[in-house]
């Protein structure tokens, strides 16, 4: 009976992880620049973006961010139980839903890692023989939190430098609108490459869904073959998420980006992709939206445009609050499970 219950729970977790992968695709707006610039037909752009995101997710499922979320973040000898993973998913989804209804832009990555933190601390405090000091891999967690602060800053710096460099070497030499239009015509195709590059790394760094699957694999609930099979399914569903659901966000954002020059899109996408690539190689799950926001600020500062620092400050407060609130929420939920004898 208990084994059957655990099996059902594992199936539920796998379904939730796949749904999470779908929602990652559904919330991905990387293609907006490409659609806004009118490089490709909308449906073709969606297909290319879907494939790139899925490929990125699948190619890097063997370790990197998935391994960090699913195993490395935990202390020595600690593995997830199915209820821990269930709590992590419920808590992060709940906090994101609350944030969406309140109109607060939140990071799913911060929410997930915060939830893991809350669950493990409650587990350590309630489980005899587990030292809260060693229940988590504090070095890894510290690196992750540090990367959350460093990645937007580097996004800002890389974009700023990249723009200044391209402006000095090429853009400032363009004198007339005809010349600008001609060069932007070529930039459009480079933008296509930059967006594919960015989309692959967005997929590679989206460790939320694969982290849960890796946790199941690490705890022995699924084997390696099953893990890779579900990772492929997650990749496919992330792609479907773009094609089916993200199209509305992309269309909406693209219509606002019609005036954006393809060269600016290239700078933004390349900068954010570089940051995501470095973070993924180091196995650090970072927020793509935080990086892209700072890349946009970097570009605005480089172009001497105004930046809404008030709105940015407000956003920063929510970003910082996400981790502790998700941790508290997960802690309470998991405590509830323990209370009912479901550790």
């Amino acid at each position: 009976m208990a084994a059957e219950f655990t099996l059902i729970l594992v199936i539920v977790l796998i379904i939730m992880a796949i749904s999470l992968a779908f929602s990652i695709g559904a919330n991905d707006e990387t293609l907006s620049a490409l659609v806004g610039a009118g490089v490709l037909k909308f449906k073709i752009a969606l297909i290319i973006g879907s494939v790139a995101l899925g490929v990125g997710m699948i190619l890097f499922s063997g370790g990197f961010v998935a391994k960090t979320v699913g195993a490395d973040i935990l202390g020595e000898g600690i593995t997830y139980t199915t209820f821990m993973l269930l709590t992590v998913l419920i808590s992060s989804i709940l906090w994101l839903v609350i944030g969406s209804f309140a109109g607060i832009p939140l990071s799913s990555t911060h929410s997930l890692v915060g939830s893991i933190f809350g669950v493990i601390i409650v587990y350590a405090l309630n489980q005899g023989g587990v030292n809260p000091d060693t229940a988590l891999n504090w070095t890894k967690l510290g690196n992750i939190v540090l990367s959350w602060f460093l990645s937007p800053v580097f996004g800002f710096i890389v974009t700023f430098i990249l723009f200044k460099l391209i402006a000095k070497l090429y853009l400032s030499r363009l004198k007339g609108l005809n010349q600008i239009e001609r060069s932007e015509r070529y930039f459009k195709w480079i933008l296509l490459g930059a967006v594919i590059f960015a989309e692959i790394w967005v997929g590679a760094n989206s460790g939320e869904a694969l982290g849960i699957l890796y946790g199941l694999f690490n705890s022995g609930s699924i084997n390696l073959t099953q893990y890779f099979l579900f990772a492929v399914i997650c990749g496919i569903f992330a792609g479907i998420g773009i094609y089916v659901a993200a199209r509305y966000v992309i269309k909406n954002l693209a219509s606002q980006m019609i005036n954006t020059r393809p060269s600016e899109g290239i700078i933004l996408q390349t900068s954010s992709a570089i940051i995501l690539m470095i973070a993924t190689i180091f196995g650090l799950p970072i927020s793509h939206s935080h990086v892209i926001v700072f890349c946009i600020i970097g570009l605005s500062v480089a172009q001497k445009k105004e930046v809404d620092y008030k709105a940015l400050g407000k956003m920063g407060v929510y970003w910082i609050l996400t981790f502790p609130i998700a941790a508290l929420l997960a802690g309470f939920i998991y405590y509830g499970f323990i209370y009912f004898g479901l550790p």
């Binding site: 402006a167 400032s172 363009l174 004198k175 609108l177 010349q179 239009e181 172009q303």
Partner: protein, 225 residues
């Protein structure tokens, strides 16, 4: 493009032109009509009514720009240059507005055969027309420069704004003179001259606004290192 005469171009030739070439041709055509309008008012000042009516009718009846407009609109609609599409369209619309105001002025001027009060008034209005001729030609030049050199276009627009400021001073002098004439017995003349000055200034105002729009485009598109 420079040698093209709008009266000799058929739709096939127009279709071969780029969006920028069509814009330039359109600006050239509208400038020619504005110059004809100014020339007509000068005939009126000289009391050469026959030539004046001929010029006004030319401005009203000429519709060669309609063909350019039609081709431009079909081309811009299909254009894949998203980032500059709206600006190109707005640019074209602003050129078209010059024609609309010119046509409005020409129609209004044909309503009554006016005789100017004195030679000083005539000289002052000719001075305003001289400025209008200058800014009309310069705005056409600025449109020509948008495609090749936005910095130069910006500078030309600065000249237009400066000339427009001097026109304003001339306008107040003229209005002041008009209000001090004892013309109550000839209220139609007063009304006609007042409206003539105001509509000329309306055209000048539009050209000035247009030049500011070109300056906006220059700052938008030019990147400085």
């Amino acid at each position: 493009m420079e040698d093209l005469d709008i009266n000799e171009i058929d739709e096939k030739k127009l279709l071969k032109l780029s969006i920028d070439e069509l814009t330039r041709l359109f600006a050239k055509n509208i400038n020619e009509q504005t110059l004809k309008l100014i020339e007509g008012i000068e005939f009126l000042v000289d009391e050469n009514f026959e030539k004046f009516i001929e010029s006004m009718k030319y401005v009203i009846k000429t519709n060669t720009e309609v063909h350019i407009k039609k081709v431009f609109e079909s081309k811009i609609f299909k254009s894949k240059l998203m980032f500059s599409k709206a600006d190109r369209l707005k640019l074209f619309t602003k050129i078209n507005d010059i024609k609309n105001i010119g046509e409005f002025l020409a129609n209004k001027m044909l309503l009554y055969r006016v005789v100017f009060p004195d030679d000083t008034f005539k000289l002052q209005i000719l001075d305003i027309l001289k400025s209008l001729r200058l800014i009309s030609t310069e705005i056409s030049e600025a449109v020509n420069l948008i495609g090749s050199d936005l910095s130069k276009a910006y500078k030309v627009c600065e000249n237009i704004k400066e000339e427009r400021r001097s026109m304003r001073r001339k306008e107040w002098k003229l209005i002041n003179r008009l209000y001090n004439y004892d013309m109550d017995y000839l209220s139609r003349t007063f009304l006609y001259l007042k409206e003539l000055i105001e509509t000329i200034m309306m055209l000048a105002d539009h050209i000035k606004n247009f030049s500011e729009y070109i300056q906006f485009l220059s700052t938008k598109y030019l990147i400085f290192d």
